[in-house]
């Protein structure tokens, strides 16, 4: 039964990628094809996908006039057909990785303390940690990564039994906001990281090439750390970490150094890979980019002054008011007069207006403003967003 389900899943994924190709969304198609081939676990297919991806990236770099090779689409369809025949699907989800039970931390030097927090994370699960600067996000992540000792509480590593600290750090990958410098050629570092994770020989080459293609880093592989931008450094670090196949990936402000396109791409790629069959893993990430995080995270927690004030999963069904954030040149008075003072609460933070209403739904608020001809330059429904907590 499972075999049929997995096979069906592969066929469905292949069909989805065919759709991307059909509509000219090649970049997404290439990334998804690579993922699908990796999940298939067949080296020859991965090799083909890498080669095909290189063709695409060469085309992408070339001038706009240059056309794809004639067999570009045919090769893609052929790969997808091959993948469809395999019976490996998405990774095993909801395998409990760690549970933190009332963990707290107080630094010896300094007044800051992280108040007791409970959380759980499983494979394929993405947990977003948000909060203002200096409120304990990094402390929480470092505690979970085994980098800081706890004052109280317990962290259980369900897949490790009774692990020592070295085993925990082998099990969990932590990418700090400031990534330590790499020495030597970038590609050597990737080969080394794969090798110390037990990926040897030709497989080592294959996986390094795969990761370079997957994160579109092939053209930078022969450079050194000082020769690439901070955004690419983050991507190389992610590539290195993914080669080591951690079960839990913890990222502290991974989006800080990325451009707006890369932010979205990296996040969705990470999430997709976390749910893959190759190495299903859990992800915890902290970020100031609330909307990006909320878009991909299965659960979001908000930390203020070291205390967890909000958990998105706990608050489901508890929201009593709706909120819409918008930007307009219209006068405050005209907005209030549109809704009536008793129906809404209108706030202005100097840039955006926020309407909070218990009587009206978000859709009703938006429809009313558009209907009244109020010119909106930015609009977002933040009813379920942690933005309301800032």
């Amino acid at each position: 039964m499972q075999h049929i389900l997995q096979s069906t899943l592969m066929i469905k994924s292949a069909a989805e990628i065919s759709g991307y190709l059909k509509h000219g969304d090649y970049a997404v198609a290439v990334r998804r094809t690579l993922d699908l081939c990796l999940d298939s676990g067949i080296d020859a297919l991965i090799e083909r996908a890498i080669k095909w991806s290189r063709t695409y990236h060469e085309f992408e770099k070339a001038s706009a006039q240059k056309k794809f090779p004639i067999n570009f689409i045919e090769e893609a369809e052929s790969i997808l057909q091959e993948v469809s025949k395999t019976d490996t699907g998405r990774g095993q989800q909801n395998l409990n990785l760690i549970s933190a039970d009332k963990i707290s931390k107080k630094y010896r030097n300094g007044s800051f303390s992280l108040k007791p927090i409970d959380l759980e994370i499983s494979t394929g699960h993405v947990l977003g940690v948000v909060g203002e600067n200096g409120n304990g996000k990094t402390t929480l992540l470092r505690c979970l990564a085994g980098q800081l000792g706890l004052n109280n509480g317990v962290i259980k590593y369900h897949l490790l039994g009774k692990p020592d600290a070295y085993a925990i750090k082998n099990h969990i990958a932590f990418i700090p906001q400031r990534i330590p410098k790499w020495y030597g050629m970038l590609k050597d570092n990737l080969h080394f990281s794969a090798a110390i994770a037990g990926i040897n020989g030709d497989k080592n080459n294959l996986m390094v090439n795969f990761m370079l293609e997957r994160l579109n880093l092939s053209s930078f592989a022969h450079l050194t750390w000082d020769q690439i931008s901070s955004g690419y450094r983050t991507r190389f670090e992610i590539a290195r970490i993914l080669l080591q196949k951690p079960r839990l990936l913890i990222l502290d402000e991974p989006l800080a150094n990325l451009d707006i396109n890369a932010q979205q791409t990296i996040l969705t790629d990470l999430i997709f890979m976390a749910k893959g069959a190759h190495n299903p893993m859990g992800i915890i990430l902290s970020s100031q980019q609330l909307h990006e995080v909320e878009k991909v995270a299965d659960e979001v927690i908000f930390i203020k002054h070291g205390k967890c004030l909000y958990k998105s999963n706990d608050s489901e069904g508890k929201i009593t008011s709706n909120a819409v954030e918008f930007e307009t040149k219209a006068q405050r008075e005209s907005i209030i007069s549109l809704f009536g003072e008793e129906n809404i609460e209108l706030q202005f933070n100097g840039g955006f207006y926020t309407i909070v209403s218990s009587a009206l739904s978000s859709q009703q608020i938006i429809a009313k403003m558009i209907g009244a001809g109020i010119e909106l330059t930015y609009l977002r429904d933040i009813t379920y967003s942690t933005k309301r907590l800032f």
Binding site: L148, A165, D188, H191
Partner: protein, 503 residues
């Protein structure tokens, strides 16, 4: 895979294979170190081979050694900074059951190669000296020089042997100095004489049995007058050229003055002076080297009129002796001193290897704090010893053992704690660093205590005093203990300490 300059393609392939299959071995870069040190050693050997073409000259190997040590240090720094940047342990990678030993072995080989290259000039110098001068050749030349000088200057030489009559007694009188002059006392304390002239009458010297043995060994000729009286004869000096240990490894021996007297002077025959002088000139050209002394050769300047001085000056034996000494010293440098060289090599390599191993397994901050701690403890111990009285050596050794015990406790406490502290790291680093030397310290302490006991009690058994064997055993034991504990204890301690959370 990065292309390294000056690396042959085969080694490049090996490097690539190691990177992808044996990252621990690759990260030590031993294959690169061996290649570059061997290449450097070959170039250096060739250079030294041509530079050290004249073995009779004074050795400049000290300067060469300094130069090579500097190069080796640059190589070491390069290895540390540019090559040892990848670390399986610090990246929390998979490691095998014996990787601590493997890493230590690889560091030892790499550092050993860099240390060994420092001995190349000295080794090439010895090789060149042995190529230029055979063991027997140099002894024959020394004998020829001395014999020819005697034959050429027969008329100048003294031929009478100096007698020395001695009476052997069981116990020599003890000399006591007092205001009234020198007094001789027998062993039981009775005063025997109180005279200004210390020598016995009729020029008969008094010696004890030890003196007798000594004189029998050294005298050129002896006549035994009765059971207690001997006449020792000393031959005049006919050896003008010679060098310490020159015939130690030769089948032919250097002829002493008595041998020369018996073979040439006793039944003197007039030589062919022209042929001998020609040969002397040849030998002078073969060995003659100017003195290093700024003021020139002693015999060139002095005004001595003794036959020895005149002969040495006439045949330039000062310069010839310089050359002979230089050749002999170079020829047997390694044969004579290899145990010292071996120890220098081993301990230099071991010390640096320990430092590198510790550096690779600890935090950089903790490493430098450990060095600082060691320096501060040395200063503190020195101060305590300066300000205290008593047995300095025993105190020092006792201090070292106490420190070791403290470091051991700190290191083992790593197993019990869940948080990484710098103090434990320092303890662990110094515990590892001291371990191979602790047997040596304990043996030294034992021998010092025994010596003190012996001083207080002369009747004690002295059989323990084969200290060389004790020290050698301790040296070997230290290395064996390190070898045994490295993986099961030290590596585990480092794994636990390094991975533990901060605070």
């Amino acid at each position: 895979m990065s292309k390294r300059p000056m690396l042959p393609s085969l080694l490049q392939k090996i490097d690539d294979k190691l990177l992808r299959n044996k990252p621990g071995v690759w990260a030590a870069r031993t294959h690169l170190v061996l290649y570059f040190t061997m290449a450097f050693a070959l170039i250096l050997s060739a250079l030294c081979y041509f530079v050290f073409f004249d073995a009779k000259q004074y050795s400049h190997v000290g300067a060469w050694n300094t130069f090579v040590v500097m190069i080796a240090m640059v190589g070491f720094v390069f290895w540390m900074i540019f090559l040892l940047r990848f670390n399986v342990f610090k990246r929390f990678g998979h490691w095998s059951a014996a990787d601590g030993l493997r890493d230590f072995g690889l560091y030892f080989i790499s550092i050993g190669a860099m240390v060994a290259v420092c001995f190349v000039p000295s080794a090439v110098e010895t090789l060149r000296a042995n190529q230029q001068f055979g063991n027997e050749e140099i002894v024959n030349d020394i004998n020829e020089l001395n014999i020819n000088a005697c034959r050429l200057e027969y008329n100048m030489l003294p031929l009478v042997w100096e007698p020395d009559t001695c009476r052997v007694v069981d116990t020599l009188p003890v000399v006591v100095y007092s205001d009234s002059g020198v007094q001789y006392e027998s062993v039981d304390g009775e005063e025997t004489t109180d005279v200004a002239m210390p020598m016995p009458v009729n020029k008969i010297n008094t010696i004890d049995t030890a003196g007798l043995r000594n004189k029998l060994n050294n005298a050129d000729s002896v006549i035994k007058l009765n059971d207690s009286t001997y006449v020792f004869y000393e031959c005049p000096t006919y050896m003008f050229v010679g060098a310490y240990n020159s015939d130690k490894y030769s089948k032919v021996k250097v002829m002493n003055s008595a041998d020369i007297y018996n073979s040439v002077l006793k039944n003197y025959q007039k030589p062919d002076r022209a042929a001998l002088l020609k040969r002397m000139l040849e030998l002078r050209n073969k060995y003659g080297v100017d003195d290093r002394n700024y003021y020139g050769n002693y015999y060139d300047n002095n005004q001595e009129t003794s036959y020895e001085a005149r002969i040495k000056q006439k045949y330039d034996f000062g310069r010839i002796s310089n050359g002979v000494n230089n050749v002999v010293q170079k020829k047997y440098e390694w044969t004579e001193n290899w145990p010292i060289y071996l120890r220098i090599f081993y301990y230099a390599t071991l010390l640096i290897t320990l430092l590198v191993f510790i550096f690779r397994h600890t935090k950089a901050k903790t490493f430098f704090l450990s060095v600082l701690t060691a320096v501060l403890l040395t200063i503190l111990t020195g101060l305590i010893m300066v300000l205290s009285y008593g047995q300095k050596d025993i105190s020092l050794l006792s201090f070292i053992i106490v420190y070791y015990a403290v470091f051991l406790i700190l290191a083992v406490s790593v197993f019990k704690t869940n948080v990484r502290t710098a103090v434990q790291g320092i303890g662990l680093n110094l515990f590892l660093f001291m371990t191979p030397f602790i047997p040596l310290v304990i043996v030294s302490l034992y021998l010092e205590i025994q010596q003190r006991n012996l001083f207080n009690n002369p009747e004690m058994d002295r059989s323990y005093y084969d200290s060389h064997l004790y020290y050698l055993t301790a040296e070997i034991a230290g290395s064996v203990i390190l070898f045994i504990l490295l993986q099961p204890l030290f590596k585990k301690l480092y794994r636990k300490w390094f991975a533990a959370p901060e605070e």
